[in-house]
């Protein structure tokens, strides 16, 4: 059940970050105002702590309206948001730091309590730069839930300026148990951020991303393997607790995408997949690691392993993929080294879909692309119609289009008798949608 809790929490976090239903967001704003009121009367500690705890639970996600102080400032801020949303094309790195957001940050910094400052430090300021995204992750027809997905807007905070924000998305499809997938969900983005940060002051250039990803996946794999030997854990979180000797028979796929202002970096290990929809055409940004892929077969055999056909091609007749995080008992045949693709963003990019094989087994790249485009297109008129509404309202329509797309894909997979857990993340890449 723990992974389920995490999941709903992540959903809630996603909601908080990029799907602010206006009422909830308003309520949140009001709460914050209340806290601020208290803060000014020197009774800040408990409320402050409570708030920061809440925020931690939300994975420090963007909380764009959090820095507001009073209704008057609300009114003043609205056009700032709008300006950022419409003018920023994301192509210029400088926009991210020197845009209309800068004065706002200053205004908050000079606020009476440190509450506002912390928000700026932890959040992303105006999150207009985060692409809209939607996620669905369901158990479907399986009795276990071993999928996990994570979305971390602006995850390279330290090197944000002047390079622009980078956003992280990952889908992990566990096998044997859910704990490796859950570890990936909790840690992968942190590891990648550390590795990327250690390269230089800014995010690595295209050619260095490969190295960053390879090192990160290796570290993630080492952590997953070490997890098995670690101390007592919450037994409810993990069913393989019952079968400790088989703990090393646990692993996970990992497909992660780092969406930056200029390019998309995808690293993949296993049979989850990332597909880019560009000008209506699906372009796979990863290639599934199946044991019968000729180069993978060759690699496995060169390492002394065998691929046996037992309900499909399997490494040693066991695992139906040729790379994974974890699975220490199948090393060196099953490796954790990712394949990395770096794609320059173009005007015609519409969306990026990350999903576990629960989707790809039954839905083609073309159909997935068509459905996602259809949802994004049908979301656009609604958003445009809401032009007169406040910014929040417009964002809500755009968010809804993405989660509609993720959900429709999930339901299509269910309709086509997908027997697996299904996780889908849809990221809107259209410039106009920021």
């Amino acid at each position: 059940m723990a992974e389920i809790c995490c999941e709903t929490e992540a959903m809630a976090a996603a909601d908080a970050a990029c799907e602010p239903r206006s009422r909830a967001a308003r309520r949140r704003r009001m709460e914050i105002r209340r806290f601020r009121f208290i803060a000014s009367s020197e009774e800040v500690a408990p409320a402050d702590e409570e708030l920061s705890r809440k925020r931690r639970r939300l994975h420090c996600f963007a909380w764009p309206k959090a820095s507001r102080k009073d209704p008057a400032e609300d009114a003043a801020e609205e056009p700032v948001d709008r300006g950022n949303g419409t003018e920023n094309t994301l192509s210029s790195d400088a926009d991210a730091s020197s845009g209309p957001e800068a004065p706002q940050a200053r205004a908050v910094g000079s606020g009476p309590s440190d509450l506002g400052l912390r928000y700026v430090a932890a959040g992303t300021g105006p999150s207009d730069l985060c692409p809209r995204y939607g996620m669905t992750s369901v158990r479907g027809r399986r009795r276990e839930m071993e999928d996990a997905a994570s979305m971390r807007p602006d995850f390279l905070r330290r090197c944000r300026e002047p390079y622009g924000r980078h956003h992280f998305f990952g889908v992990y499809d566990g096998h044997g148990c859910s704990h490796v997938a859950v570890s990936c969900k909790d840690r992968m983005h942190e590891i990648i951020a550390e590795e990327a940060g250690s390269m230089r002051s800014g995010p690595p250039p295209a050619e260095e991303w490969r190295e960053v990803m390879e090192r990160s996946f290796a570290r993630m794999d080492a952590e997953a393997v070490a997890w098995c030997g670690s101390g007592p854990r919450d037994p409810a979180s993990c069913r393989c607790e019952l079968q400790t000797p088989r703990c090393d028979h646990v692993g996970s796929t990992a497909v992660v995408a780092v969406v930056g202002p200029a390019r998309i970096v995808v690293a993949n290990c296993g049979d989850s997949r990332a597909v880019l929809c560009r000008n209506g055409v699906p372009i796979p940004l990863s290639s599934d690691h199946k044991p019968d892929r000729p180069d993978e077969l060759e690699r496995i055999q060169a390492a002394g392993g065998r691929v046996i056909y037992w309900e499909g091609a399997r490494v040693l007749g066991v695992l139906a993929m040729s790379r994974a995080i974890g699975d220490s008992y199948l090393k060196p045949y099953v490796v954790s080294e990712p394949e990395v693709s770096v794609t320059e963003r173009e005007e015609g990019d519409e969306c990026l879909i990350l999903a576990s094989d629960g989707l790809w087994d039954v839905v083609t790249n073309e159909t997935a692309c068509d459905i996602a485009r259809m949802c994004l297109r049908s979301g656009a008129p609604a958003a445009a119609a809401a032009e007169e509404e406040e910014e929040e309202e417009r964002r809500r329509f755009k968010d809804k289009a993405c989660s509609d797309a993720a959900m429709l894909l999930t339901r299509l997979a269910l309709a086509r008798q997908s027997a697996d857990n299904i996780s889908v993340v849809v990221i809107d890449l259209r410039r106009s949608s920021y």
Partner: protein, 257 residues
């Protein structure tokens, strides 16, 4: 066997049939647009379900094993039983299936140029992301409960190899002698069997509560009235069909045998 057991079930089947007719009628009429009326029908179905499970609880206390493996059901029907009834998660799987069929059927329209998503918003095919999330949560909770009850049942069944039944069984030879002498000896066995039967009744009760609660959460809290009616129609059709198929199968087997 007590006829009350049989008639309780027969009555339930008749109720299912009449509720199904009513639900289908409403779906054919313009009343399908009237949420208040649909909600009323959903409540009525759920009330009948609850009443049936209340009656079963009382009967189960009298005779747990009979409810567990009801002789009035066909072998085919009984093969689907989990703790005396359908699996609680079945309603969720059913929901996935029907919402999926309709989506697949509408897919081409949906992807056609100008195919507005809005045109299919109503009904199960228009399940929203928020609904899917809550359904998934319910699915997870229900599976956990189902597994808990399954393992409780396993323990109960395995306990037959333990006290107090095992010593009685191994002691059989001597007890047979006692019986010959007219000393009885049934008392201990009967008491042990009664304890087991009571525990079975408790299992049926818990399982029924989970079945009713899961369906109620789905049709009352998560789904819209129209979606709820669609699901109930499918559930009742499935239940009645399985019964019919089982009867037909039994008939064929008798004719052949």
């Amino acid at each position: 066997m007590d006829s009350r057991f049989h008639s309780c079930f027969e009555e339930w089947v008749r109720e299912q049939e009449s509720d199904l007719n009513e639900l289908q009628e409403v779906m054919q009429s313009e009343r399908r647009e009237n949420d208040a009326q649909l909600r009323e029908l959903v409540e009525k179905s759920m009330r009948h379900y609850k009443e049936y499970s209340d009656k079963r609880r009382l009967l189960a206390r009298e005779d747990g094993p009979t409810i567990f493996c009801p002789p009035w059901c066909t072998a085919f029907e009984n093969s689907f039983l989990w703790l005396g009834g359908c699996r609680p998660t079945l309603s969720i799987r059913l929901l996935y299936a029907i919402s999926g069929y309709e989506l697949e059927a509408h897919l081409d329209d949906l992807l056609a140029p100008g195919g507005a998503a809005a045109s299919i918003r109503r009904g199960l095919v228009g399940l929203s992301p928020a609904q899917l999330t809550t359904v998934n949560d319910l699915h997870c909770q229900t599976l956990k409960e189902e597994d808990r009850l399954s393992s409780k049942m396993a323990t109960l069944q395995e306990d037959v190899a333990d006290k107090p039944l095992l010593p009685i069984a191994t002691d059989r030879a001597s007890r047979r002698a006692e019986r010959a002498e007219g000393n009885g000896g049934h008392g201990v066995v009967e008491a042990a069997m009664n304890v087991y039967a009571e525990k079975l009744a408790g299992m049926v009760e818990e399982a029924d509560m989970l079945r009713v609660a899961t369906l109620r959460t789905l049709v009352v809290e998560i789904l819209t009235p129209l979606q709820a009616v669609e699901l109930l129609v499918a559930a009742k059709q499935l239940h009645l069909s399985v019964r019919q198929w089982g009867q037909r199968r039994d008939l064929h087997r008798r004719q052949r045998g």
